[in-house]
């Protein structure tokens, strides 16, 4: 929206266009108007042009996309009439646009707002059907820059007469084009001359295959036709004189996707049903998102029928039609507004200070937790030289086996000690909470696992860990033990691809440890183990999202502050804030953002094979991880990616942070083979 106008200046030279605007008067005029808040008269003065010219510049600038104005979708959805319709008919959303004012036709206006609403209606990986008609074509034409991945657009019905320009093919191809989606046509007429002809066509393999796509729909965009003489259902060639005269469809109030409903939304079984090719009403009603876009007074009865019949989950219409619908339901719109204004509750303030914890003395937490772990899992782990912070696996390590030492700070339980065992790491070094272990402990682990074939250090890429492990490596070298360090860098949110070596290591560690353990269990030499582990690290891509911060045992306070409706995108596993702060979103939308980033970075192709880890950052329960996993699987399947291994749970945490991370590891034969090898530890038994 336009900012409030403030009188800008003064000296004309002060508003000379900056050089980057070049000589483009459209850009110049737009800047002065929208950014500087000058009036059209003032701009005319600046440019030495007439006011009508400036007016034309501004209109042109919008037409050419130099200026993009969008009204917040949230606001459009908050219109009172819309709220009331939502409530009345149990809709997920109802968008209301002004029905009058301005030169644009109602249909274009509806198309434009529907196109804008697609931002919250459809998401990457969706399979979307669209019907036909003037409004649908206006919608398809208005769609732009949605930035969605892996969308399929399916024609909802067969084709119609080409006497109209808003045919099913036209609507669907245009939508697919503007969404950058894959397009699936239905290569048959929507209406055929006889049931026999329909049966023959349905039996055609190509058509049958196309129609199969209608079973996987996640969303349908549809218009609705009234039964008036010049309505779409008539112009599309569905009726001949004979049928109407026979009165089969006398009780019909409207038609959607070429099917007919009565005033209560009940489907009407007439002779056309067996001659129509396209989505059927009972199937339509099972699609998760069903978006009806329609407006105009003649559409009130059919819209109402569709709402009553449960065909709609979201409605996009204009104010007049919306009011008409409510009136038809016996509601006075004026009274609604007053009632609603009176009942908006104040936002409760949430204040938290001290976070309760099961601790004795903060400084003893790490030691006591490790003592508890050693007592709980004696079959898996034991201390080295009586130190609880240097721990080895109970598995026998044969001579000539490369030793695997992992480690880092405490606070990631079951990381890191949960990953020592058969087919995994040999020893683990534990530091203080979120702090690297010191070199002397790393050295004692190194000595303990060395079997003459060298030792691999695997740890997250953090300044402190690098320094401490480097000092330990120098000390080990002085004793004649060869070590190699592999720094995990799976957190793709922490740096761009051009600076991938600077990324930090997070939950991807789990897969990297697995590959290392499997490689060393095969008695492969140090060089080969090192190569495989590096490859595993590059194959892992993680993004974490926090909804609430964690709290350190020492402070028992949230490690950063975050608003009630905010989340941190791109968090690591040390309680630090993420890369960006965003408005809180639904689980599916959060997973979508994660997938978009990871898919792009991995260049994940259809037919690819992956391992995934949906990991809790501590306080997020299994139930929510499973919700995350559900959407993740939908996105991977929309891309035809095969999921080889799935881990869901608490694998690599950040104390009590509310949040989750998603790791996707690209697999080839070599990595898949190592991942499939058996392993047995506290956190992973395979």
């Amino acid at each position: 929206m336009r900012p409030a106008r403030k009188r800008a200046a003064k000296d004309p030279r002060a508003t000379r266009p900056p050089l980057r605007f070049g000589d483009d008067p459209l850009l110049w005029a737009s800047w002065l108007y929208y950014e500087e808040g000058l009036t059209q008269n003032e701009i005319a003065e600046e440019l030495g042009a007439s006011r009508p010219t400036v007016n034309a510049y501004l209109a042109d600038a919008r037409a050419k996309g130099i200026v993009n104005i969008s009204i917040s979708g949230e606001k459009l959805r908050s219109v009172t009439i819309g709220r009331e319709i939502e409530e009345r008919f149990g809709l997920e959303g109802c968008v209301i646009v002004p029905g009058e004012g301005g030169p644009r036709s109602l249909i274009d206006r509806l198309g434009a707002v529907a196109a804008q609403s697609l931002r919250w209606l459809i998401h990457s990986g969706d399979t979307v059907a669209i019907t036909w008609g003037r409004t649908m074509l206006a919608l398809a034409n208005a769609v732009r820059e949605l930035d969605l991945l892996d969308i399929v657009v399916v024609q909802a019905t067969g084709g119609t007469t080409a006497a109209i320009d808003y045919t099913p093919e036209a609507c669907a191809t245009r939508l697919a084009e503007n969404l950058g989606a894959r397009f699936v046509p239905i290569s048959a007429p929507a209406i055929v001359s006889s049931p026999e002809a329909r049966q023959i066509l349905l039996a055609e393999p190509v058509i049958a295959e196309q129609l199969k796509n209608l079973e996987r729909l996640t969303c349908i965009l549809f218009g609705i036709s009234s039964m008036r003489p010049n309505s779409t259902i008539h112009t599309s060639g569905f009726f001949d004189r004979k049928l109407q005269q026979k009165g089969y469809y006398n009780s019909a109030v409207g038609s959607l996707a070429g099917r007919f409903i009565d005033a209560q939304g009940v489907p009407i079984a007439g002779p056309l049903a067996d001659r129509t090719i396209g989505i059927e009403l009972d199937r339509l009603r099972r699609i998760p998102k069903r978006v009806l876009v329609a407006g105009g007074f003649d559409k009130v009865p059919p819209i109402l029928a569709a709402l009553r019949g449960g065909y709609v989950t979201a409605l996009i219409t204009d104010a007049g039609t919306g009011e008409g619908i409510l009136r038809a339901e016996g509601l006075e719109v004026d009274k609604i507004s007053q009632r609603r204004r009176a009942t908006s509750p104040p936002e409760p303030a949430l204040t938290r200070s001290r976070i309760k914890k099961f601790i004795n003395q903060p400084r003893d937490v790490v030691r006591e937790a490790l003592e508890g772990a050693l007592a709980a899992f004696p079959a898996h782990i034991e201390s080295i030289d009586g130190s609880v912070r240097a721990i080895r696996s109970r598995v026998e390590k044969p001579q000539g086996k490369v030793g695997i030492v992992i480690g880092g700070g405490a606070g990631h339980e079951p990381g890191f000690f949960g990953f020592v065992g058969r087919g995994l790491a040999d020893a683990v070094v534990v530091g203080n909470v979120f702090a690297s272990p010191p070199p002397d402990r790393i050295l004692s682990c190194t000595r303990d696992v060395h079997r003459g074939a060298g030792v691999l250090y695997i740890y997250g890429n953090y300044t402190g860990d690098v320094m401490n492990f480097d000092i330990a490596a120098d000390l080990a070298a002085a004793e004649g033990i060869e070590t190699r360090a592999i720094l995990t860098t799976d957190d793709i949110a922490s740096s761009g691809p051009e600076d991938a070596a600077a990324r930090r290591g997070t939950a991807g560690n789990v897969f990297v440890f697995k590959i290392a353990g499997a490689a060393s269990a095969r008695m492969l030499p140090l060089d080969v183990c090192e190569r495989l582990v590096r490859k595993a690290n590059f194959a892992c891509h993680t993004i974490g999202v926090a909804l609430e911060p964690c709290s350190m045992p020492d402070t028992q306070r949230p490690s950063f502050s975050i608003g009630q409706n905010e989340m941190e995108f791109g968090v690591g596993v040390h309680g630090e804030p993420g890369v960006t702060r965003m408005p809180l979103q639904s689980a599916d939308r959060i997973v979508d953002q994660i997938c978009d980033r990871i898919f792009e970075e991995m260049r994940l192709e259809s037919g690819g094979r992956v391992a995934v880890l949906v990991n809790s950052l501590g306080a997020t329960p299994m139930m929510e991880l499973l919700v995350v996993n559900r959407r993740l699987m939908q996105r991977l399947s929309a891309r035809s990616v095969k999921v080889h291994t799935t881990l869901v749970g608490h694998y690599f945490t950040s104390l009590d942070m509310v949040g989750a991370s998603v790791t996707i590891m690209g697999l080839d034969e070599e990595l898949a083979g190592l991942l499939d090898a058996p392993c047995s530890s506290i956190a992973w038994i395979k």
């Binding site: 903060p362 400084r363 700070g409 530091g431 203080n432 909470v433 979120f434 702090a435 690297s436 272990p437 010191p438 070199p439 002397d440 402990r441 953090y462 300044t463 402190g464 320094m467 401490n468 000092i471 922490s494 740096s495 930090r504 911060p549 350190m552 020492d554 402070t555 306070r557 949230p558 490690s559 950063f560 690591g572 040390h574 309680g575 630090e576 804030p577 890369v579």
Partner: protein, 214 residues
């Protein structure tokens, strides 16, 4: 002239540990804003470990260089983390300097410069990177300048303290380029670097010490 001897170092570490213990929570909160919230813990525990080690050492240990080496290894063994290697290397550098010859208190700036050099070497950071060096380097320079201008030991320590505090304050206007805060890029603006704040706290101990002794 009084030198930086065993008693001086023992008092320094005792006072510094008290100061860090008192600021434990505040340093953690400061670190929580741009780091992982453990800085207060590492520093307070680390300095406590140094004093514990000193108590175990026999009274025969008289060489300040040996004392500083013990401090370095006690600190490193206790905290690890990022500050462990940094301060351990700093103290090892300081020990190397004290090994060469006794150092007069008025030449505190040289000891601070040795510390700063150790930190710089280990952390591969420099002035302006929004790290503890933004306190250590200006402090060492100010101390040497004060000595060159004829200040006494107390004046030297005060100059170092003032420069360290000022250096720590300027970290709010810096964008971190080392350590975890570096991931935040411009979001680190407006926050004090906790490492620089604790460094100023430690350096301030020298001024406190100088006052106690006059």
């Amino acid at each position: 002239m009084t030198t930086i001897d065993n008693a001086y170092l023992r008092s320094f570490f005792r006072l510094a540990a008290e100061r860090l213990e008192a600021q434990r929570q505040d340093l953690c909160s400061l670190d929580g804003e741009i780091g992982d919230g453990d800085h207060g813990t590492s520093m307070a525990n680390g300095f406590a470990a140094i004093n514990a080690r000193f108590r175990e050492l026999s009274a025969e240990v008289q060489e300040p260089a040996i004392l500083l080496r013990e401090a370095a290894s006690a600190f490193l063994g206790e905290v690890g983390a990022t500050v462990g290697p940094l301060y351990a290397t700093a103290m090892f550098q300081g020990a190397a300097l004290l090994e060469e010859r006794p150092l007069e208190q008025i030449r505190l700036g040289e000891l601070l410069a040795a510390f700063a050099e150790g930190i710089r070497m280990r952390g591969k950071a420099d002035l302006g990177d929004k790290t503890m060096l933004d306190a250590w380097i200006p402090a060492s320079q100010a101390a040497r300048n004060a000595a060159a201008c004829g200040g006494d030991a107390a004046a030297v320590a005060r100059a170092a303290t003032a420069a360290a505090l000022e250096g720590a304050d300027t970290t709010t206007s810096m964008i971190a380029s080392r350590g975890r805060a570096a991931r935040l890029k411009e979001r680190s603006l407006g926050h004090l670097d906790p490492g620089a704040v604790s460094a100023a706290l430690i350096i301030g101990t020298f001024a406190e010490l100088a006052e106690e002794r006059t």
